[in-house]
């Protein structure tokens, strides 16, 4: 979230799209209710199903799954053609005025530089025109035909209300009503917030959907405002934390990036990431990359990391490509992986196309599962009849299952969706011999280190030298680890303005990432978490819920990254002179000498407004990007591409380019996509308010509330198929088949799309062959093995099925 849960109460308009907060995030949704009750907010829900969020909305707009870019593109067209934008914000805080390189084009669904064979783009033309001074050229009148504003206008002019209605199935009048509500927030003192979840991410175009929403918000001047922003309502309690800590193929903690194998030179690696400003006077905060990186290396390798050995740059593994979960299961299915670990992750249920996953896991030599619960993945070799039909004798994978603690049995911090790190405490001992994840990782590591000491082996350096100065080596404490990622001074640190003054003594905890050095005199395991455990103690455990501004920022509750800031880009809540756009929502303001206010200012504290430092300090331009340069795989402007399985078998905007041209599709998987003729119904997976993923089928209460697997269909489709509520139905895709009880509702209505009637089938995901609920099919039996072109998040939300009465 750019903002946070409580901040939703400050919104005037709330759009729930690509999510269903009332059911999936009920206690966060109370802030929507709060905004409606006390801020007269308007709630709009846009979803294929009339969800419980929709049931309390002021306006519900149906939309076909996988067409959100068309819908939001239509909103952009409406705002631009009716001139309902926040002009001063757009001019000063976005790249609308920047001139785009002459070679950049868009024709028939493709941007310049497409390589059809490689399914990827040469992105070199997706760039600004540069002046001789090294800065990007701009036209502040926004009239230049090559400026972002004009190109954007042209790009989205195709997304007329008629085109939107034709693609999305949303009635034209409903769509226009949504546009009008959104446009009311283009004035400086009204804000809109977007609340989304997996309904936006789990598409082959997911990242671009979110980008389109961000563009809408930039045009309306809603980023950085209280009650504004683009807000991801994330799914797991610490998914934000694990992402921040970089537990992904190509990242290091704090969104630092692993080097590619071509990057053999340390200085070049740092220079490439120390992004220089593209406009005069901009902060471009990534210029500090070397400080963050070197401090991480010092944290990991201690005295072994020196200036002379480039702080052990060679010790980091170098990427030849990104090994995301789809790539890894593809390699596993090809027999190229020998070992796999699943720590609190149940991929047999959570990755698409179950048949492929079983085949892949069966080719492993060893599988290690670390989990509090008996997951399907750990039991993939067990036969469970129709729900999981395998022959154990033929599966030669050796499996180890290690019991871990759950939340109630450990101390530690979790990072919520609003970036708050909150500390929790152990209330009981774990059952039997279960151990904390930290102890299990330590146990494995110490044993390996011992083996390398005894036997030697290839490149033992990083293993032998990894800092491990924990009081009990076999059980590093959460407190020690939190202090390690916060960071400390390795030498006395002096005040940059007065070198005689020592601000931190050697060994003391850092106050924040502003103190990091690139010379090896500081250690810090995750720079964005620096400030969480300082000399003042554990700031994540703070419990002062006072809210003096009334905006809900509770600055003394827990710790929010970065720097305890609650609303990102909050400098943009003021005009160019430093005066808040809305005096009632005063997040920060320029007091004549410095930035002050109810939040930690997101700018250099003494940067005078007259100097023109832009509010988007992580960007080289200092402004928000309406044109994404080369940062996205499929283009600098979002474009509507159909899901890989589309019920209309075409793309009304450009029939030759139907689906995302830059999405990676593995050879075998393309053959497993179904066509609309055979599989006429648009299916989408979703979650129920009574269940959490595949966990709560192991808990009694949730299993009593929702004991049995079902699929949801509309009354019209049910009538066509002769299905009554409560009948058993068979649902199948090109990849597999499930049986479930049919729930027939008014919540799913047929949509008119491109001259055709499209029915949706809703498929809740919560059942499997393990648990205390009734056995059911893992829903991923049905889903396609393809992901978003940028993140490789699987397309669970849009695929095709057929169904019949069982």
């Amino acid at each position: 979230m750019t903002n946070h849960w409580v901040d939703i109460k400050n919104a005037n308009v709330i759009i729930v799209m690509g999510g269903n907060a009332a059911e999936a995030h009920p206690c966060g949704f109370k802030w929507v209710t709060e905004a409606k009750a006390h801020n007269q907010a308007t709630l709009v829900v846009i979803d294929p199903r009339f969800t419980r969020s929709a049931s309390v909305a002021d306006l519900y707009a149906p939309v076909r799954t996988g067409t959100d870019i068309a819908f939001l593109g239509g909103v952009i067209n409406y705002l631009l053609s009716k001139d309902r934008i926040q002009h001063e914000y757009v001019k000063s805080y976005t790249n609308a005025s920047f001139l785009v390189a002459e070679g950049f084009t868009f024709e028939d669904g493709l941007f310049s530089g497409y390589d059809a064979g490689g399914r990827k783009y040469d992105r070199s033309t997706w760039a600004y025109q540069m002046g001789p001074d090294g800065y990007a050229l701009v036209d502040e009148t926004l009239q230049h035909p090559r400026c972002v504003f004009q190109l954007m206008k042209q790009h989205f002019s195709r997304y007329t209300p008629e085109a939107v209605s034709n693609i999305c199935g949303t009635p034209r009048e409903t769509f226009l009503k949504v546009c009008e509500i959104i446009a009311t927030t283009s004035v400086p003192d009204r804000t809109l917030t977007f609340l989304y979840a997996l309904g936006w991410t789990q598409h082959s175009t997911g990242s671009q959907i979110i980008r389109t929403a961000a563009m809408v918000q930039l045009l309306l001047g809603n980023i950085g405002m209280a009650g504004g922003g683009v807000n991801a309502l994330r799914g797991h309690s610490n998914i934000q934390g694990l992402t921040d800590l970089g537990l992904l193929s190509d990242l290091l903690p704090g969104y630092l990036t692993l080097p590619r194998e071509q990057e053999t030179d340390f200085k070049a690696y740092l220079d490439k990431r120390s992004i220089k400003p593209l406009r005069p006077g901009q902060m471009s905060y990534w210029q500090n990359y070397p400080k963050f990186h070197v401090s991480l290396m010092k944290s990991w390798y201690g005295a072994a990391a020196t200036k002379e050995n480039n702080f052990c740059f060679d010790w980091l593994p170098k990427l030849d490509k990104v090994y995301d979960i789809l790539q890894v299961f593809e390699l596993m299915a090809q027999g190229q992986l020998n070992g796999y670990f699943c720590q609190g992750f149940n991929p047999l249920a959570a990755v698409p196309n179950k048949a492929k996953l079983v085949k892949a896991l069966s080719k492993l030599k060893y599988l290690v599962v670390i989990d509090p619960l008996a997951t399907e993945t750990s039991c993939f070799w067990e036969n469970h009849g129709e729900y999981h039909d395998v022959d154990s004798a033929k599966i030669s994978t050796e499996v180890l299952r290690l019991p871990s603690t759950c939340f109630a049995e450990e101390n530690g911090s979790l990072t919520n969706s609003g970036r708050w790190l909150q500390w929790h405490y152990q209330g009981a001992r774990p059952p039997g011999e279960a151990k904390a994840d930290t102890e299990i990782m330590a146990g494995i590591f110490l044993k390996i280190r011992e083996l390398y000491r005894k036997e030697g082996g290839p490149f033992p350096d990083a293993i032998a030298n990894l800092t491990w100065n924990y009081q009990i080596p076999a059980a590093p404490s959460p407190e020690e680890l939190a202090m390690e990622y916060n960071g400390k001074a390795l030498e006395d640190l002096t005040d940059p303005k007065d070198p005689t003054k020592v601000i931190l003594k050697k060994g003391q905890q850092l106050d924040g990432f502003g103190q990091l050095k690139d010379d090896g005199s500081t250690a810090c395991g995750c720079w964005i978490y620096s400030g969480a455990w300082t000399e003042k103690g554990n700031l994540m455990a703070r419990r002062d819920n006072s809210d003096p501004s009334g905006l809900g920022n509770t600055l003394n509750w827990g710790f929010a990254w970065p720097a305890n800031r609650r609303v990102l880009y909050n400098r943009a809540s003021c005009d160019t002179t430093g005066k808040p756009w809305d005096p009632k929502r005063k997040l920060v303001y320029w007091d004549g000498a410095k930035w002050a206010g109810a939040d930690v200012p997101d700018l250099k504290p003494d940067a005078a407004p007259a100097d023109g430092m832009g509010p988007f300090i992580m960007q080289a331009e200092g402004v928000g990007r309406l044109f994404a340069l080369d940062k996205m795989a499929e283009g600098p402007f979002p474009e509507h591409y159909e899901p890989f399985e589309t019920p209309i078998d075409t793309n009304p905007l450009h029939p030759k380019v139907i689906s995302n041209p830059a999405a990676r599709v593995f050879r075998g998987d393309a053959d497993e996509f179904g066509k609309g003729q055979q599989y006429p119904y648009a299916a989408t997976t979703y979650r129920l308010t009574e269940h959490f993923h595949y966990w709560t089928k192991h808990t009694r209460l949730s299993s009593i509330m929702q004991p049995e697997q079902f699929v949801e269909i509309g009354e019209e489709l049910a009538r066509e198929k002769g299905i009554r509520g409560g009948d058993k139905v068979r649902v199948w895709s090109h990849r597999g088949s499930i049986k479930a009880v049919a729930v027939v509702t008014k919540r799913i209505r047929p949509l008119k799309v491109n001259g055709k009637t499209v029915h949706h089938v809703g498929i809740p995901i919560h059942w499997g062959f393990k648990g205390v609920a009734r056995k059911g099919y893992l829903a991923n039996v049905l889903t396609p093995f393809v992901g978003d072109a940028n993140t490789q998040t699987p397309e669970f939300k849009s695929f095709l099925v057929n169904l019949e009465k069982a």
Partner: protein, 195 residues
């Protein structure tokens, strides 16, 4: 006869047998209901965070036992933390059933091993488990570790073993996991951020 709870206890304390309660002239069931203590009155409270979605509601966990070393705590009730600025004491249907997650019959208690082709688990010790995992990993790493690529560049990577990390584990566990796994050279590394 009108007997307050306090007076009733007093009567009992002065030595009346339970059979005499009937003689007091009011229904026994009512009296029993009166003396039942509030079930949370003697519990120990621990602050925690709901492990499900990332609203991250504040929790109060109630356990039996006073945290003395010889008293085993057992959590018997969980409710929302009324001081928490986000959930203000509320929990959703999932969170309201959290105590059943802690005590799920499907909680794992011991390390277990399944041999190739077998249809059953066998219980093993942690020492055996760590030794076996380390052996598997080292053998695979020793055989397949790539110090340099075809172009002669140092790449120090190990591609034949992968690791999925848990997005319900704490930041501290996540940080340590990253530190260990990356330094073995693993690139096939992911978490639930994508799903």
């Amino acid at each position: 006869m009108n007997v307050t709870r306090r007076r009733f206890l007093k009567i009992c304390a002065t030595g009346l047998g339970s059979s005499s309660v009937v003689a007091l002239g009011f229904p026994v069931t009512k009296a029993q209901a009166e003396v039942r203590a509030f079930k949370l009155a003697r519990s120990s409270e621990t602050r925690n965070t709901c492990p499900y979605c990332s609203v991250s509601c504040g929790l109060i966990m109630h356990s039996l036992g006073d945290r003395a070393k010889n008293a085993e705590s057992s959590i018997f009730h969980i409710e929302g933390d009324p001081d928490h600025p986000v959930n203000r004491g509320t929990l959703c249907p999932k969170g309201a059933g959290l105590v059943d997650f802690i005590h799920s019959p499907n909680r794992l208690k011991y390390p277990e091993y399944r041999a190739a082709g077998s249809d059953r688990w066998q219980r093993i010790s942690w020492d055996e488990a760590f030794a076996r995992v380390a052996r598997w990993m080292k053998d695979d790493r020793d055989r397949n570790f790539l110090a340099k690529n075809a172009a002669g560049a140092t790449v120090n990577r190990w591609l034949t073993t992968g690791f999925l990390a848990a997005s319900a584990s704490s930041n501290e566990a996540g940080y340590l996991t990253h530190k260990v796994i990356r330094n073995l050279g693993v690139l096939a590394f992911d978490n639930q951020a994508r799903v």
